[in-house]
Amino acid sequence: MKLSLGPLLYCWEKSRVEDFYTQVAVTDIPLVYLGEAVCSRRRELTTGDYLQLARMLRDAGKNVVLSTLALIEAGGELTELKRQVDNGEFIIEANDMAGVFHARDAGLPFVCGPHINLYNAAAVRRLHDWGMQRFVMPVELSRNWLAKVLDDLGDIRPEVEVLGHGHIPLAHSARCFTARHRKLAKDGCKTICREYSSGLLVQTQENQPLLRLNGIQTQSAACVDLRGEWDAMAAMGVDYFRISPTDEKLPHMQQKPILNPMSCNGYWFGEAGIRQL
């Protein structure tokens, strides 16, 4: 099993994003996803800027994949998606079936991100037939689920990636929760999500950390941490352990997870995702 770095899901200023990927270039992470996967109103970096970063990372020896939007609603977003698919250098991570449609139409291989619903082997096989090289296990599924699917798939199967570290992307809405919290209309949002570099923490009225609002995306407040499961995952045949960038430094993989209220691993064990077992 190898490491991968999922797309940066927060809106950081361009220089900070560039610094971040300059650091990523010298790590030993072999697979890097990058691109805007949350909101098309975020324009700190253009697709052209991401392509430049992608080339820099490729030249540093990385396998690079362009991540695409999870929720595609407007015609302009679809046009941009087609441009990403047709970039001529890198394959895409489809987070919406429109990405699958355009990649398949162009005869290009692709990766399915965690937002594509793959809940059984027949569905995985169908997408594999269409050109899916690898898929990220949907976030709410478990170790036992994965074992059964891998068993059903047998030898002819796409690669499998599991979100092993980071805040879990739980939902997407038309509404921008960050703008709303700041009493701004979505159409005049001023990209206010720039001010929340790891999302806006939401707690229950008993101060239990619950969610992180990241524009139109809702994440888990807790950070999923499956570092302790590394060997088990590798033995099962998981190909990549995904780290989703957080506000902090990249996690040390050698360290065992520290159990605290801000970490969770319930989904992996077939329980409520918020739980830490």
Partner: protein
């Protein structure tokens, strides 16, 4: 325009048809559909009875198979498709690729409607499902603005159905994991959003605490009207403010009576009423109002106006007695 109404049981189904539904949708009494609440839905025998009654009245019956088959248990979902074929269902409402595959190859004569749980919101996604499985219709998630619905309808490869009334789901359906994050049960895998067995109410010092699997979703005065506890409609605090508020959405229902002419002009073929989990009384009230509205519009489109008594009747059966246009209205977003 078709008026499509929910039926959680035979009584609701008969009520809906008598009150003017053109078609009804229902599911089996198990996790092959995303409303598997106790006491709801249809056994195979009841399904046959439902089909007889519906077809006898000259109306259509759509079977909902909108969860994603679990590995090792796929046969149960395939069997549900077979059952629907046996009772001559007029369409299957499906989200999963393997089920679309199975239904389109075994029963190509049964129309396939892409469930809202498939979360298809754009031309690319709809084209994929059309090409691969020849779907006839798609149910749009409640995340598009009216303009986006209009734009999509212009060159959609399939007919479109929209949610017209009922509980407001504010996330892209089929891709929301808030329920499983807190309770372990997910709409996608056959539970339901916020399963009833995870809900607990307790009174403390004049307040009513609403818990979902021990997570505090809301705290209200005991005399305050509260909605069914779902994570997205809870009152929480943000890191930069101490006072609890509805940070995502307040308990409210979708009501698009005022959009009816625009939806019709856009070419939307079906208006869906949400609420298989609701009572026959709800189904009757809502169906009657929407039947009257559609008939009034059809008779004289240019003179259509929402009548006060319609809104009043619908407000009574709305969550928190408050209604919204939701994402159809850009302001809401």
């Amino acid at each position: 325009m078709e008026l499509l109404c929910p039926a959680g049981n035979l009584a609701a189904l008969k009520t809906a048809i008598k009150a003017g539904a053109d078609a009804i949708y229902l599911g089996l009494k198990d996790d092959t559909n995303a409303r598997s609440f106790a006491g709801l839905n249809f056994t195979p025998e009841k399904l046959e009875e439902a089909a007889r009654f519906t077809h006898g009245a000259g109306k259509k019956l759509y079977m909902t198979l909108n969860t994603f088959p679990k590995p090792g248990e796929e046969q149960r979902w395939y069997h549900a498709v077979d059952l629907a074929a046996k009772v001559n269902a007029d369409a299957l409402i499906v989200a999963d690729l393997s089920l679309l595959d199975y239904a389109s190859s075994r029963y190509p004569h049964i129309p396939l409607h892409l469930s809202v749980q498939a979360s298809a919101t754009n031309h690319g996604a709809l084209s994929l499902y059309k090409q691969a499985f020849n779907i006839e219709r798609a149910v749009l998630p409640r995340v598009l603005s009216m303009k986006q619905v209009r734009d999509l309808a212009k060159d959609s490869p399939v007919d479109l159905e929209v949610f017209a009334f009922g509980s407001l789901c504010i996330m892209a359906e089929g891709r929301c994991h808030l329920s499983s994050y807190v309770t372990g049960q997910s709409p996608n895998t056959g539970g339901s959003c916020s399963p009833a067995n995870a809900v607990r109410w307790q009174e403390e010092d004049g307040n009513r605490m609403t818990r979902l699997n021990d997570v505090l979703i809301d705290k209200a005065k005991v005399n305050e009207q509260i909605g069914y506890p779902v994570v997205c409609k809870g009152r929480f605090t943000a890191e930069d403010s101490d006072s609890p508020s509805y940070l995502l959405e307040s308990p409210t229902s979708l009501n698009t009576l005022s959009l009816l002419p625009e939806l019709a002009r856009a070419g939307v073929v079906s208006l869906k009423i949400e609420g298989r989990q609701r009572s026959p009384a709800y189904v009757e009230q809502v169906t009657r109002v929407w039947r009257a509205a559609i008939d009034t519009f059809m008779a004289a489109p240019e003179r259509y106006q929402v009548q006060t008594q319609w809104d009043q009747a619908l407000a009574k059966v709305s969550e928190g007695q408050v209604t919204t246009l939701g994402a159809y209205e850009r302001q809401w977003q």
